[in-house]
Amino acid sequence: MARAQRSRKTTITVVVLVLLSVTILTANAQGDSSANGVRGFLHDLTQPVVSSVQAVFRPVGNFFAGSVNYGRVADENAQLRYTLNHLQQQAVTNSLAEAQLKQLLALQHLAFIGSTPTVMARTIDVGRSNFTATITLDKGTTSGVLVGMPVVGSGGLVGRVISVSADSATVRLVTDASSSVSVAFPSMTTEQAIVHGEGPDTEMSALYLPTGAKVTKGSLLLTSGLAGGVYPAGIPVGTVTSASSVAGAGAVDVTVSPAADLSNLGYVDVLQWTAGS
């Protein structure tokens, strides 16, 4: 009898907790942002302790990471040496390319980015969840960072601020599966596409481009800056790494490698630009 009663209590408890979880999930999904405020407050509260412990244990972590990734690091080192030699040979021709780039940037009305105020921020946390691609910055509302501001660095678009507290901000990277960026091709005036993130450490994709779009490997994609868009025009988003025709659809799918080196985001710039500004 007592056992049956206890079993019934257990079932009721589990059902109530599951319903409570579902209620919280749906309330949050429908735009209740109270959780974000608590998240930001707790992040500010725990960050000093977390940073201190990280500083102490980082060498240990680096040791293990180095052991696990030794082969990859060695390959990367060889690749970097090759790239360095290659770049040195190209140094002369780069001056010409630089002049062309300046012209191109002027054509893309990039100049205004130079006048957009920026906030330099340090990356203090990378990817707390295995299911999302995010970073955390050490600047928040007290430094003028707001939700929705674009983040650039390491050669291109990094992502967009999705939540902010007084002294920190969370940025959704362009590779996150829920990220989408409207892009234009600098070599063409009319073609535009949406580049979607495909998850952490995975190349992005742009689907169903018209076959008329002359997309080739290495094509640079810039933010289009469409009216009502969430990014200003002219920020490098990525380069096309492959393009394939969709059978029967008269379209082309492309994969895009991020312009920014997302594995090396020590410092980034937050553009103090919001949609409509």
């Binding site: 907790l17 979880s21 990280q54 707390r128 299911f131 599966a177 450490d201």
Partner: protein, 174 residues
């Protein structure tokens, strides 16, 4: 606040700090260890289904406050894991059998990782399915097996002499 609750809070706090300070920065191909599944599983093993569900929900909700994923999703998964493992414990699965605990933790971690994006789909978070699931399952399964015994010991210390099991007057302490 009872001493048992204080000790349990201390154990959970230390594990969270270890997670944020160490595990989050030791990533293999971008995937890091999650200790939350181990915590929920051990809660179920030591306290049975009712305590496991409550404990899993509580630690999951606390973890949700630090994650960029949908708020409440970790709480839901941990609640279910705690309840299911607790049900097994109620039916005789003994946490004293050393090799059983890492095995149960590993299986529970794999199930949790797979459940996470699947439940996320129900609230429209389809992007969670694009995560490298197999790699996350591999890392979390292995890590959960390794963490099982230390977490078990820590939680046993937190439970004190009374423990968390329902037959030992534990509910009154909460």
């Amino acid at each position: 606040m009872s001493p048992k609750l204080l000790r349990t809070t201390a154990v959970v706090t230390v594990l969270f700090l270890v997670q944020f300070s160490l595990f989050d920065s030791w990533a293999i191909s971008g995937v890091h260890v999650d200790c939350i599944w181990t915590l929920a599983t051990i809660g179920g093993l030591l306290g049975g289904a009712r305590f496991g569900a409550t404990f899993g929900f509580s630690v999951g909700l606390a973890m949700d406050l630090f994650l960029p994923t949908p708020f409440g999703l970790t709480a839901l998964v941990c609640c279910l894991v705690g309840a299911v493992v607790g049900q097994l414990a109620d039916r005789g699965l003994d946490a004293d059998l050393g090799p059983v605990v890492p095995g149960v933790c590993a299986i529970a971690a794999a199930a949790s990782v797979l459940c996470y994006p699947l439940l996320g789909v129900f609230i429209g978070a389809n992007e969670l399915l694009k995560a490298p699931l197999l790699l996350i399952v591999a890392v979390d399964t292995l890590a959960s097996a390794c963490l099982a015994l230390p977490v078990l010991q820590a939680m046993r210390w937190a439970g004190g002499r009374e423990g968390f099991a329902p037959s030992q007057k534990a509910p009154s302490a909460w």
